[in-house]
Structures are given as C-alpha cells and as structure tokens.
Amino acid sequence: MRDVFIIGAGQTPVGEHWDLGLRDLGASAIRAALDDATIETVDALFVGNMLGGAINGQENLGALLADAAGLLPAEAWKVEAACASGGAAVRAAALSVASGAHDVAVAVGIEKMTDAVSESVTAGLASASDCDYEASHGLSFTALSALLMRRYMHEHGVSREDFAPFAVSAHRNAAANENAMFREPISIEEFVRSSQVASPIGVLDAAPVCDGAAAVVICSRDALQGHHRAVRIAASAAATDTIGLAGRADLLTLGAAKRSAEKAFAASGFGPKDFDLFEAHDAFTIITALSVEACGFAPRGEALKRAAHGCFARGGCIPLSTFGGLKARGHPVGASGAYQIVEATLQLRREAGPNQVPGARVALTQSIGGHGSVAVTHVLEA
C-alpha cells in the first residue's frame, strides 16, 4: 500500500442551517477543501452520511454531491457506518489512493438533521442499533447509551456528576471555534441539573442534533506539490462488534474501538503515549469515557478519575476534542468523523489558532457508530 496524505481540509459551521440543504452544505465543504489544496478536480468522491434516506428522502449522495460540487464525472458514492460514516468515508478515500486505484480523492462527511421533527430524528438515529431487538422495543439511541452509563456507574462506583469534566471541557474548547455550535461555557452545576433524556443521561451529556459538512482531499506521494501543507495518514483501521449491546460479553469494553485502535497503533508504530491530541467520539459522556479506555489513555474504569485531574483538558496529558468535539462543536452524525480529521489536520499544520495544542505532531481520531458496533480509527502525522 502507498503512503497517503491530506492536502486539503474544509468545513461548514455546525448548527441549524435553515437556509442550506444537503447539496449546499456538501458542496461548500468539498469546495473549501479543494481550494485549500489548490486543486480543481479529483478522481473520486466518498460521501459519509447516515440519515439522507431516512430524513432528507435523498440517497445516491455520491452523484448528488459530485454534481453539486462540480466534480462530474468522477467516481462517487456514499459510505454508511452509522455515526462513524464520516470516518469510514475518509478511510474509503485513503484506501482508494493507497491501493493505487486513484491518485487524488476527496472524502466528505455530511448530515442535514434539522429537516425532520425530533421524533423522526430520534427514530432515525435508533436505526443504528439492532432494529428487531433494540429499536422495535422502544430503545432510543440515548437509551442504549444510558444502559452503558448506568452499568459503568454501578461497576466502577462513580456518580453522574463524575462525567461532567468531559462536557465542561468540550464547551470550553468550543468557545474559540467559530465553526462550533455551542460556544458558551457550562458549569458542573448546570451539567448535573440538566433535564433527563433517558436516565441517567441528561441533555448536557449528549451531543446536539444539527447540520454540517466537513471534507478532506487525500492524495498519493506522487501527487504532492511543493506548496502543499501535507499531513500523512500514518494509519487507518476499522473493526466491528455485535450490533446489539446484549451480545457483548464485556459490556464496558468497546471491542471495535479497542481493536481498531490496536490495529492503528500496530500499523503506525505509535502508541497512546505518543499522541499530542485525541479527537474522540464524545457523542455522550459515557462514550467518551469508554473510547478513552479503549484507546489506552486510561485503564478500565479509570477514565473519570483522570478527567477529574484535568488529564483530557487543554494542557493536560492528552487533550481531547480540541475544537469542542461532538458535544460542543456539534454532532451532525455522518459528518462528525470527517470534522475530527479536519480538526486534527489543522492542529498538525499549526493552524488551530487559539485552540492550538503546542508542538502537535501526532494525532489520533476515533469515529464510533452504533454504540461501538463499528469504529474507525486514524493516526495522523505532521
């Protein structure tokens, strides 16, 4: 397999975009990434998206966005892996270039969630779980996370309040990110008081429903040009676990997240101690904790203790979600994995402004779908 590089990154602000549809958001992010890479055309486009069919009544997003972004007749199709769709699209683009099939490809993650009422969005998100054995029994996506969180609290003897540092830190990081949805700080008291969605999960444990798109241009070493500020994809790995939570022998180990991280560490030669930042899949505070443990940044059951000591805040041992993460930058589900790659790229190019992690050289990103049934992990190197 050939070495692959990110030479362009683009994103739209995350929020409720009443004036912008799927095609507008997608084309905007793609064109921004192409402009950043100073190129006009690509060989292929990979679109990461989860809910286009369920919410927007639009599938075939490959052709839709190739058309809207002026990339015709490039090969283009949609990649779907629930909330990990954005990470999966980046991996598909990286594989296509690494294999030699293409020289330049673009991956875009996109989600337009505000075209539906919240009950429809909740039902759409639940389709990432096992429909016959979870969703059909009234298990919402949040309820499944709540089952994980309750069990974590029980086994590790922690309280709901102990999860607060992840959310508080995410909001603090989003304050200086002009593309973030929530730029206001929150307090531990507000976190604890926030209304329950599915106990013990409150509103401030959870990432918001929103719209957004993020894109990266990926190329081979041969296609690199002198002026490119290239970031190397040192590893790209993915793994799966049971679709339903009930099938997991160890409920509190996200097996797919762990295995994809181990594969990425082996392929890149980097380990947990080598990373300067971690763009985590912080869709719910419990998922942040489990992802941190799966990647080896804390032993099993110790993530909250480390969070309380400031380990995951800016300036800590491993800064997490440096632009606000899914929690505060926002979680347009199929786009989030691509936002992580864009943000890590900005960090490694030292273009993160007030959010810059000093001396950032190696970054880890992890995109998780369906409560850990699928996970995509990337290692990026400056």
Binding site: A126, A135, H154
Partner: protein
C-alpha cells in the same frame, strides 16, 4: 421508522418475540439470543432452536423520557441477564421506576410493543417485556 405495512417483518420474528426462542449449538452446547448463523462460542454451524426460560435479573436499566416515533415516554428499558447467562434488551413493565435496581429478579411476559401502520387502522406488534419476578408467598391460601 417509516409508517409502512411491514407485517411480514414481525411475522418472521414470532419465535423470538413470543417464545424467547434462540439457538443452542449442537457441538458445544452454547446458547444465544437472537439466533445467528454460527455459534458465538465455537463458530459451529450445527444449531437447534432453544427456548429460554424467561427468568433473569436486571443488568442495567434506564427510564426513557424522550421517546422515538411510535412510542410514548416515560417507560423503562433494561438489559436483562437471563439465567442461562445470555442478555436481552427489553422494556420493563408492571413496576415503579423507583423500585428498579440492578440485580432485581425479573420474568418474561408477553405484551403489546407497538402499533404499526396508520393510526387506528394498523396492527399491533406483541412481544416480550419483563416484570418483577412473582415470588410465591408462603401465606398464599390454597385455591379452592
């Protein structure tokens, strides 16, 4: 979920939904729910239907306040660990939210899960839920 007439879908699920039926491996004896093509323990392909007892304990639970389309909150959901060692995700019923705790003994009952299709003209989907295990009381008088 779309408001479609997906009747055959739930007819296919009759065995697991009504009888809590999964599979048992003929080679190693491991049981699983729901059924999968290969044994979860030894990957053996020779399996037979296995009906779970329906008795277990609450492994984790949540009270859903914001319900998805087709459901109305609040209601209780849980991961139940069956006495055969396999877990199942289901709603809890006939219990006060304040009384639920991890480790609580529960048993399967058949209840209405959803109404599908156009409101008032669709069909009802029945399946398993779990309620607190009914412990026979020593003082219960014998039936006449």
């Amino acid at each position: 979920m779309p408001e479609a007439m997906d009747l055959p879908r739930y007819r296919r699920l009759t065995a697991p939904y009504y009888r809590l039926e999964g599979r048992r491996c003929k080679k190693c004896g491991a049981v699983q729910f729901p059924a999968r093509e290969a044994c979860g323990a030894c990957r053996g392909r020779e399996q037979e239907p296995y009906r779970f007892s329906g008795r277990g304990t609450v492994f984790s639970f949540s009270e859903v306040a914001m319900a998805p389309q087709g459901f109305s909150g609040p209601y209780l959901v849980a991961l139940v660990e069956l006495e055969e060692g396999v877990r199942v995700t289901a709603q809890l019923t006939d219990v006060d939210p304040d009384e639920v705790e991890i480790g609580m003994p529960v048993e399967m009952v058949t209840r209405r899960l959803q109404e599908r299709g156009p409101q008032g003209q669709g069909y009802l989907v029945y399946g398993y839920k779990f309620r607190p295990a009914l412990v026979p009381k020593a003082s219960t008088p014998a039936r006449p």
